[in-house]
Symmetry: D2
Amino acid sequence: MSEIKRIGIITSGGDAPGMNAAIRAVTRSAVTEGLEVYAFYRGFAGILDKEFRKFSFSDVGGIMERGGTILRTARVPEFKLPEIRSKAAQNLKELGIDVLVIIGGEGSLTGGKLLSEEHGIPVIGIPGSIDNDISFTDMCIGVDTCLNTCVEAMQKLKDTASSHERAFVVEVMGRGSGYIALASGIAVGAEAVIIPENPVDFKAIAERIWEERQRGKINSIIVVAEGAASAYTVSRHLENRIGFETRITILGHVQRGGAPSAFDRLLAARMGHEAVKAILEKDFGVMTSLSRSNMARVPIEKVLSEKKELDMDLLKLSKILS
Amino acid sequence: MSEIKRIGIITSGGDAPGMNAAIRAVTRSAVTEGLEVYAFYRGFAGILDKEFRKFSFSDVGGIMERGGTILRTARVPEFKLPEIRSKAAQNLKELGIDVLVIIGGEGSLTGGKLLSEEHGIPVIGIPGSIDNDISFTDMCIGVDTCLNTCVEAMQKLKDTASSHERAFVVEVMGRGSGYIALASGIAVGAEAVIIPENPVDFKAIAERIWEERQRGKINSIIVVAEGAASAYTVSRHLENRIGFETRITILGHVQRGGAPSAFDRLLAARMGHEAVKAILEKDFGVMTSLSRSNMARVPIEKVLSEKKELDMDLLKLSKILS
Amino acid sequence: MSEIKRIGIITSGGDAPGMNAAIRAVTRSAVTEGLEVYAFYRGFAGILDKEFRKFSFSDVGGIMERGGTILRTARVPEFKLPEIRSKAAQNLKELGIDVLVIIGGEGSLTGGKLLSEEHGIPVIGIPGSIDNDISFTDMCIGVDTCLNTCVEAMQKLKDTASSHERAFVVEVMGRGSGYIALASGIAVGAEAVIIPENPVDFKAIAERIWEERQRGKINSIIVVAEGAASAYTVSRHLENRIGFETRITILGHVQRGGAPSAFDRLLAARMGHEAVKAILEKDFGVMTSLSRSNMARVPIEKVLSEKKELDMDLLKLSKILS
Amino acid sequence: MSEIKRIGIITSGGDAPGMNAAIRAVTRSAVTEGLEVYAFYRGFAGILDKEFRKFSFSDVGGIMERGGTILRTARVPEFKLPEIRSKAAQNLKELGIDVLVIIGGEGSLTGGKLLSEEHGIPVIGIPGSIDNDISFTDMCIGVDTCLNTCVEAMQKLKDTASSHERAFVVEVMGRGSGYIALASGIAVGAEAVIIPENPVDFKAIAERIWEERQRGKINSIIVVAEGAASAYTVSRHLENRIGFETRITILGHVQRGGAPSAFDRLLAARMGHEAVKAILEKDFGVMTSLSRSNMARVPIEKVLSEKKELDMDLLKLSKILS
């Protein structure tokens, strides 16, 4: 392969705080190395529609602190069709894109892997997802900010929960993963955490809440991952058993927004820079990874071959500490 | 009436951030003046159950910054019965309470007014309610913090809304009042605000969202006051009309928690102190009030006689500015 | 005077959070009414240099939540010279500016008053200043956000102060006014507040800190307004008297930044809209004002004729409650 | 050694947000396992003075979210004297403390190591320090919260910096380490970061600021680690060279306070629990460690034998990205 001159960049799948910081880092590192940066809008959709802009150093000024992604994002289900991917590859080639940087989660990395395998498009992945469900990296961009948002909201609930004799049910995101629910539940001392990785036992939860009331604890918070149940379902089940009112909070997309935390900004800056280093070394098909505080790279194929397991010790911990 | 020696204090109704700061200010001001402070738990319920503690200066240390109320609160529907109020008055007399300070909203003030009229219990009211529905005061304790919580959450939604092509529906509190919805909607530039004071026109809202999409605006936020409709109802109505997905956020009791804002702390400190000044001057039956940045007092009867009107100019403003 | 077609707008003096929200409200209200908006950069300097941009409805999108001012600001000392003001007036006339909206503090309003008196330029003022030193309005844009910033920082200090046996000195802004120091001092229960309006008595402060230590209170915070003394001076004086270490925090311009609070956004929205209403009614030479939760207008001349007095009851309150 | 029945716990050295969450986790995990917990106040000083309290499960309720440490902390320089350590060891033995859990930084771990070596007191370390200067763990408790505090403050500075033509100098903590300065500098895109690990070149910094002004960038932020220079020194040097005003912010102990971030709460919970696991396994003389998202243990001796090196790639990154 000849010299790399022009890179493409997309954010894809669910947005995550820190994606803008990653866009900035990729762009500035690339421009500093003399590369051209073509930024496509709405993920793979922008490649299909040839909706893009050339980014200079200053085009990414003032975006690091903003949640969401200035490139927007979209889920593009039709990307599962080979002919659609073929079209995308053709567009990238026509535009002279030598390598595509993909910031996103598992689905986005899978799209990249297929583009690469089927059409020889070199890709680099950067893990951005609030769900923390990508393996072979200590953290994904966005998880830390999302957890802070959840914990701040739940901490406010605790204030008011202590003033009443009620139980509160909070529904958080995470798709198939219970990580956000579990980590935020531990961080606020929730009475119970309901996650997809573990069968829910409403009887046990109701008993626990009752016992804690006897012990004098009055602020009961139950965290439920969207992948396990809805807040309404949990609320109905519990009210029937505990005999007093529950109240519901559904944070929804609030969890995807907000200025990224220091951790996510730093992680995004480092990963964006690492992606450009990989490009210069022509080390393609890899995802940037945080490993023991250092930057590393893992073949995307390896990342996709293994499901990130939830550390079930955390579930035990959540029960002991609350 | 002889000299005042002992005051009672309760927080009642829905809790509001800043109630603790008010408890602290009443206690410290009273103790400084040589008065005794009996703090009753769970509002009028604690008077009925004689569940109280004598508070010293240091008992209220470190509480100002905490949301909720350390005295807890409860709605006591049976307080509508004369015989229950009679029991409460008797308890207060037995305990030698010379005057009762009530921190709460309209219902709580009504309870106090009746105690006073029927049994000659002197009362002082301090307006604490996130709903901002108490008349004759520029602000109630808790409104400012609640608005900040709503605005922060909605601002995060805007980040992510700008990344997607979706509309977001946020349900906020306010009971019969649309103030929180309207004020927070203006503060984040929401596309539409649905409040109980104004009939909802789903067709007009859907058209507006469509027009704005045409104009290129992509982050649509619709705020709905719980008193007007539920987020679900609004979501269903809009999806049918606009033809794309909506997402829901229900903040719930998160709005009642959180460290109080500077404004609420200062307001609570001033009102708590003013309540004690009123006690020393034997100016009973009044509610402390913020009027043009100054402390004032208004007869509770006058407060209860007039419904606080929502400034409908704000509704116009919300339409012009977004 | 003929019909109003074109308005100018500047932010001037020290920046304050919420100025952007005011710019947005003026622009959108004016454009909605068919007026043209010329936004000048760096306050009066931009008028002198004819550095401006015509603002459309969408030019002020996404700015409400940002601290500072997108129009920048500058102090322009030479505006005290009549010939410089004459030049500014000439530029405004050449550009066909029918009325100038000035968002700023006392100095900026004075500049506007002179432009009006000397050259017949109609002006409207909007009070924006973190110092809360403008009379005839219950609040200025920016004060609320600034107080929240101060209080959050001081609250963090209290955490750590409780862990050590030290006293902490925090220097806050306010120019000639002690309002920020006093209001934030009350809101965190500071042991002492040193303000320009009241002579400092280091001996009394040191004695108080000593007494509180005896009583067991270990987290001493002393707030000092920049107009009264520097943190270093206070620190040196106290260390000599109390015999243990003090630590210093100087918040500096951190106090001017940050996303505006809900209160400041709403205030700015209302004032910006009110300014345009005044323009349409040709009610010139007035400042928009918050009065008992309502919008009002006050002649700028009246505003400038009276110094805003600090409510000295607050000083007493700060002593009683801590 | 016989069965473990009673553990001691201290927080020592500089306080860090999350220490309370660690105290809670150690206590609750230990009590759950049937152990007694003796909590000593003010670090080693409390052992010397036998100032302690027995902690039950509920004694550590409601502390996780609070900054600082409820056990207080102190630097005890005399602990360098063998006879003082001897006295501490004797007290621990008299009180029947079977193992001592030390939450703190390098100095505290050194104290623990000596107690162990000289007097056979089993110890377990938990790394708590905002400076991130402890080796063999990916993160210390407190670093994440401290970084968020710094980044939030600096972000506010950027707002106002964009409104003026000034440069801002921010002094942050870190003792001998430049980590906080560097990480927060990257996270806000600071123009320059001055750290003890790298000689400062004021000429180069001044030139850079000048160049960026030419390029149109107007918000210059210079971060300086306390271990490298003071904000005043930096300010004076720069003003002489750049010819315009600088403004100073000294965050001071604000950096040590604040509710701990989700990350720090989770880390503290896990490390506290791991410490108790180590105790039950009689795996003494180790420090709990975060390694690739998992809990691990490292001999304290090994931790102390190696200085944590600052990743100098971060310095390069800070220059490329701003």
